[in-house]
């Protein structure tokens, strides 16, 4: 897929959506906090609203060119859209919902055979029901199937998991992954959940207040946010101001609240940095005497434990607030309790320094 968004300008309530971005990967996540203009951007791509100015091109076909007053109508774009509220037609059965976008005759892409889509999303048992008789997860799958059955060349997903609780999320993600892999259909997935982005997307566009803050591969953006703002957005759990005390052999010694850490030195920039540490990169250990390759070992007090789905977010006081994400099982095994002291290990590459 190649999706080109140029010269986009759309005034919204609090800011103007201004976007200039190219997307080339199979699955792109549009990532940002709520109210960042993500849904408006999807609406523009689908042709559901007009911008003050916009140039949108999908795989070489111009869809919108405001300069030439050119605008392909939404029903002729071939872009599937699963909105956040799913928009299943309440007056139609599941079957009629699914068939709404089918073209008459043989005009449907054979890749999106009804039987095949129904099988991948496991919706056969739901077909005879009414829409109101479906559970949240079932609705999600039906909406996804309905969009696919219209043989789209690009699929837009608006917060596909936001309305679902954690256990249901875990069930739907594999379906989304199957759709991605079975149908090889390019997807653009709006999310504010980095786990969702990590699970589904190759590429990420970080959007805040209507502006693109960073684009790149997901792993790249998550581990190397371009600036402190992006770091905060992608929810790098620990974000502390620090000072680089010295650089030696590509390793920087950083002081955070008088605690000294070793990190990979940033390419350039000031001595004043933000220290970014992702929760997954913090290892917790009971026995402080075990030696390992890990550069940073900190004695930390457990402040609070907060379950987050399959994971537990552990708030630590290591001389500065430090967050660790561990599995529930690990949490039980370590018998973590608030108030206890524990050793936190962080590998040097797990600490990312962003100039401030």
């Amino acid at each position: 897929m190649s999706l080109l968004l140029k010269n986009i300008s759309l005034p919204l309530a609090d800011f103007t959506l201004e976007v200039e971005v190219e997307m080339h990967r199979h699955v792109t996540a549009i990532f940002g906090p709520s109210g960042a203009g993500k849904t408006s951007l999807l609406d523009l791509i689908a042709g559901l609203r007009a911008a003050r100015s916009a140039f949108i091109q999908l795989d070489g076909n111009v869809l919108t060119d405001s300069a030439k007053h050119f605008f392909v109508a939404p029903h002729q774009r071939g872009i599937g859209y699963v909105p956040q509220d799913l928009a299943l037609f309440p007056h139609l059965s599941v079957r009629r919902n699914l068939l709404y976008g089918r073209k008459s005759g043989g005009a449907n892409d054979p890749a999106f055979r009804f039987e095949h889509v129904a099988e991948v999303l496991e919706i056969q048992p739901l077909v005879a029901r009414g829409v109101t008789e479906l559970s949240g997860g079932e609705k999600q799958r039906v909406a996804l199937a309905r969009a696919l059955l219209a043989s789209p060349r690009l699929l837009l997903l608006d917060e596909p998991l936001a309305s679902l609780d954690a256990p249901l999320k875990a069930k739907i993600i594999p379906y989304l992954a199957r759709v991605r892999d079975e149908f090889r259909i390019p997807m653009l997935c709006v999310t504010h959940d980095r786990f969702e982005a990590l699970a589904l997307a190759d590429e990420i566009v970080v959007l805040q207040d209507g502006k693109v803050r960073q684009t790149g591969l997901v792993s790249e953006v998550f581990t190397r946010p371009a600036n402190a703002e992006v770091a905060r957005l992608v929810a790098v759990e620990t974000l502390q101001p620090g000072t680089i005390m010295g650089v030696n052999d590509g390793l920087a010694t950083v002081s955070v609240n008088r605690i000294t850490l070793t990190a990979l030195a940033p390419a350039a920039g000031s001595r004043e940095v933000f220290v970014c540490i992702r929760g997954e990169d913090v290892i917790l250990q009971r026995d402080p005497t075990v030696t390992s390759s890990v550069r940073n070992r900190l004695s930390a007090r457990v402040v609070a434990l907060c379950p987050e789905g399959a994971l537990v977010r552990v708030e630590l006081d290591a001389g500065f607030p430090l967050f660790a994400l561990v599995t529930r099982a690990a949490c039980t095994e370590l018998a973590l309790r608030a108030g206890e002291t524990i050793t936190a290990l962080i590998k040097a590459p797990g600490i990312h320094l962003v100039p401030r």
């Binding site: 109508a73 939404p74 029903h75 859209y81 037609f89 073209k103 969009a147 219209a150």
Partner: protein, 222 residues
């Protein structure tokens, strides 16, 4: 009830139903445009649509009389080009009933269209449906109760129309005489039993129509 009385009842019910059918496409189109589109001067159109509801019916009738009379702008055209006379014929009754009942249909249908989630229409478009198909497969079915309720209200309003009708159609027995006109005439002539019989029929017709419209307007699908 005499044959003459039955003729009046049938004529009234029939013209009222026909006027409701005739205003349906225009009323729905207008209601949809008011519910879904914005343009400068929209409030003026909105006011004009409601005007027949609040203006004295006789005044509306006078406007129609001037417009559709042989020397009126529209009446002249119809007479010269199509040899069609409107004033003081059953067509005038139809015209008066249509104009007077249209606001009720438009208002009810507009509310019904506004209650349809626009997201459903937008997503229908991304599924390849053009504007008309979206209207007939999504908007109209979801607004059906409100639209039917509005039609019944318009029908009931047409049944009882008096002021505009008497201005443009007069009260010609066997030709343009409707229930309301006949009741008034019979009271004037002192034929009270006859007036009361027609009154009874009007009450039954109006009650049925309003009761049905309440049913459709109030009960919403879950």
């Amino acid at each position: 009830m005499t044959a003459e009385e039955w003729q009046i009842v049938w004529f009234t019910a029939w013209v009222s139903a026909l006027s409701t059918v005739i205003i349906l496409p225009f009323g729905l189109a207008l209601a949809w445009v008011l519910a879904r589109r914005d343009w400068p001067g929209k409030s003026i159109v909105e006011t004009f649509v409601t005007l027949p509801l609040v203006m004295p019916p006789v005044a509306t009738g006078l406007i129609l009389l001037k417009l559709f009379g042989r020397r009126g702008a529209l009446g002249g055209f119809l007479h010269d080009q199509l040899h069609l006379d409107v004033i003081f014929t059953w067509r005038a009754v139809l015209l008066a009933l249509s104009v007077m009942s249209m606001p009720l249909l438009v208002r009810a249908a507009r509310v019904a269209f506004e209650e349809v989630n626009p997201r459903l229409e937008q997503i229908a478009r991304t599924l390849g449906a053009g504007g008309l198909r979206v209207f007939f497969t999504v908007t109209l079915p979801l607004a059906a109760r409100g639209v039917i309720g509005g039609m019944l209200l318009a029908f009931a309003r047409a049944l009882g129309e008096f002021g505009a009708t008497i201005m443009v159609a007069g009260n010609i027995p066997g030709k343009t005489s409707t229930l309301s006109l006949a009741i008034f005439e019979n009271v004037q002539l002192g034929d009270d039993p006859r007036a009361f019989r027609l009154l009874g029929v009007s009450v039954i017709l109006a009650f049925t129509a309003v009761w049905c419209s309440e049913f459709f307007l109030r009960r919403k699908k879950p």
